[in-house]
Amino acid sequence: MSTTAKSASEAKLPGNLQGNRRLSQWLRIAPEGTVTVTSGKVEIGQGILTALAQIAAEELDVNLGRILLVPAATPTSPNEGVTSGSLSIQDSGTALRYACAETRAIYLAEAAAELGVNVDSLKVEDGTITAPNGRRTSYWALADDALLDREATGSVAPKPPSAYKIVGQSMPRVDLPDKVFGLPRFIQDLVLPGMLYGQVVRPASRAARLVSVDDAAVDAMPGVVAVVRDGSFLGVLADREEVAVKAAEALAASAKWDERDTLPDMGNLPAWLRASPHESKVIDDRASDAKPARTFSATYSRPFSAHASIGPSCSLAQWKGYKSVTVWTHSQGVYNLRADLALALGLAPEAVEVRHVEGAGCYGHNPADDVALDAALLARAADERPVRVLWAREDELGWAPYGPTMAIDVSAGIDANGNVVQWTLENYSNGHSTRPGRADKPALLAAGHLEKPFEMPLAINPPMPAGGSERNAVPLYDFPGRRVVCHRVLDMPLRASALRSLGALANVFAIESFMDELAQAAGADPVEYRLRHLTDPRGRSVIEAAARRANWRAWKKTEGRGHGIAFAKYKNLGAYCAVVAEVEAEQEIRVRRLVIAVDVGLVVNPDGVANQLEGGAIQAVSQTLKEAVRFDRRRVVSNTWEDYPILRFSEVPEVIVEIVNRPNERSVGSGEGAAGPTAGAIGNAVFDALGVRIRDLPITPERIVTAIG
């Protein structure tokens, strides 16, 4: 290999091109007039695919309708790790932008040679390439797979934002029409020839071991094909879905379990967090000699929270001669899942093929990966027939990974003018990720229930600067003295993993609540108090925009009503977002209005940004006012919608979204940016309405009654 070739192959390429360097891994130009884009990213209900299609259409100069997005699958897609809402546009979008710009240049060079003109004189419109003399050709006429069978160089600059015609426009979601007509698009709708229905009976409690079960009686039920038992993993296969459900109920009724207490006292989770073994990490430490005139401290907390998607997790699996298996999944990372399935099933990764199919709303690490192992295990008893498994609602709420409980201690010293001179934050939390594909043991639920069980790996925090429990633990304000310490709890009685915004919701709730407590001590207006501590111009402008749009200064205080503001820069490197919440407090808290100002850099699809932000904010209202996973010392008991209520139509506030467009700043994701500020703004509005400070989420009527005393 020559030296030049070597250095080319080692050149650092933009975004996820770095790890997936061949252009053909990203796109294909087809003679029939289409562009196939094979992103490793998957649609998780946030319109990511629409945004990626816009990027490809923009750089290639073709109409959006020509872009076909191929679902991710091993082994053909680029390995882009896990799709988590906020990162997709950053990593995948950047790679695709460069890959498409380079593809355009390659095709233009071909066209120039064919038409006998200079490359720079060519124009492209919807894939048709025209020379100044009127002669033309097109991508489709020139289509040749060999042209893209090469490594990207990353040397062709994408368009400047000022030239954008498609990116930056509100585009209708590419997947929505199918869904409003009820066309079968979800994995839950997928039917394979000869398919059997599988159902799993989960243990009676967290540490329960199966002692006995009357499988013969269930096996004899008409329509039951097999009862599967492997240690404490118990399931059934049937020829009809309702038969599988009934048979699972019968199995559960006859199963005897050996149970024991393993869960902490739900009534005092902060005490459990502090008492558990933990590993401490100082993530910010800046000394200052400034002497505070007064000091304050407070402790905040959040409970375990559930994903609670409306569509239960689902997967299909089919074996070929016990040697290889194909799995259909709505996992966020097909390669990560493949690695863990291989570990759990004792196969080489190459013997596992994982194909992505869209699922219902995904807000983090939900049971998509778990149900894939369930399907693969049950399908082993299906004699090469495909098996479909759909989790029961109780399991979806009761056995999914949860967003972990956190306790956050904040203290600060203010000077004679009320300005913060010292700030300390310490939080306690499990790590925020038990995603698959990261350890030498499979992080899949059923793997822990097998005859030869695998221990569930302990939750880790994703690396900094995004972090997990560290996420947004460092405030963006310019405090002279600052210390932030994160204690990762090393005991994991309930599986903890990534739920939308990870640690940011609780950290921002704590920081922004405490900022209001300090503003009050300083006798300052909350908006003014934040601005005095913030020099970042983009941060200042979203706070000002939200205050202006909400008419903050003209607010008239009336009995039982309050308003509050909160702000954060998501992950301290993503979207800037400020939220003003207006609440009414009667028997319970009603959020009447949210005014959100956001800066996500260059906006790819404005309506998509508004839709995602609004959705994220409404979900955060639900978490702030209602949600907590409840359990006794053995089992989770909040496993129906009655026991785990979420915000309903009649309770949803009006939401106004104002987008501050920054065409020359990098695009960042928007789905999760509003979560923390929404929680903080509601807490502050409740204080404004009632004069009581609720520091523990959720802000329930019981907590308010106790606080009022």
């Binding site: 998780i44 209900g45 946030q46 319109g47 209708p172 979601r173 997947d175 929505l176 029409p177 869904k179 409003v180 007509f181 009820g182 066309l183 079968p184 979800f186 839950q188 709708d189 039917v191 009809r240 879905e241 309702e242 459900v245 609670a308 998607s309 409306i310 569509g311 239960p312 699922g359 219902a360 709303g361 995904c362 807000y363 759909l390 029961a392 609602r393 309506d607 839709n611 995602q612 609004e614 959705g615 994220g616 904010a617 409404i618 979900q619 639900s622 129906t640 919608w641 009655e642 979420i646 915000l647 309903r648 139509f649 009649s650 949803v652 009006e654 939401v655």
Partner: protein
């Protein structure tokens, strides 16, 4: 135990041989291939599976097959098709009223029942009519706007 049950689905006569107490949702999805009706909880708590039964919006997960005998069932596929879209389907696309969209089939069915009895509903009436439907993606306000938009279009 399993006998033939006849009923009308989206205007066509259908006969199904299945146990009488089979929840209607499984018959629609698996026997009749109408998978637009989504299953969310199976116990009448989320609204994902609603269909019209003689014009009433009911949870098909909690409706046994026998209760549909001789009746008229309308599913999301019966509201309209890409070629002949129903006004609700047009309005939901126009308002981009969906994120994951898993909740939408049941919601559009209840919206249709609402518009049949209250052609020009207030926003509060729409919210009340949809209150038994859960949406986790937080698309509620767009959905309400879409129903109000559809109401403005003649049926």
């Amino acid at each position: 135990m399993s006998e033939e049950i006849r009923f009308t689905v989206n205007g066509a006569e259908r006969a199904v041989r299945a146990a009488q107490n089979t929840p209607l949702v499984y018959v629609l999805r698996n026997d009749l291939g109408l998978r637009g009706t989504r299953l969310g909880c199976g116990v009448n708590q989320c609204g994902a599976c609603h269909v019209l039964l003689d014009g009433q919006s009911v949870p098909s997960c909690d409706t046994p097959l026998w209760a549909a005998a001789g009746k008229k069932v309308v599913t999301i596929e019966g509201l309209g098709t890409p070629q002949r879209a129903h006004r609700l389907q047009r309005a939901f696309v126009a308002e981009q009223a969906g994120q994951c969209a898993y909740c939408l089939s049941g919601i559009m069915i209840s919206a249709e029942a609402l518009l049949a009895r209250t052609p020009d509903p207030t926003e509060a009436e729409v919210r009340e009519a949809l209150d038994r439907h859960l949406c986790r993606c937080g698309t509620h306000n767009r959905i309400v706007r879409a129903v109000l938009r559809a109401a403005k279009e003649a049926a």
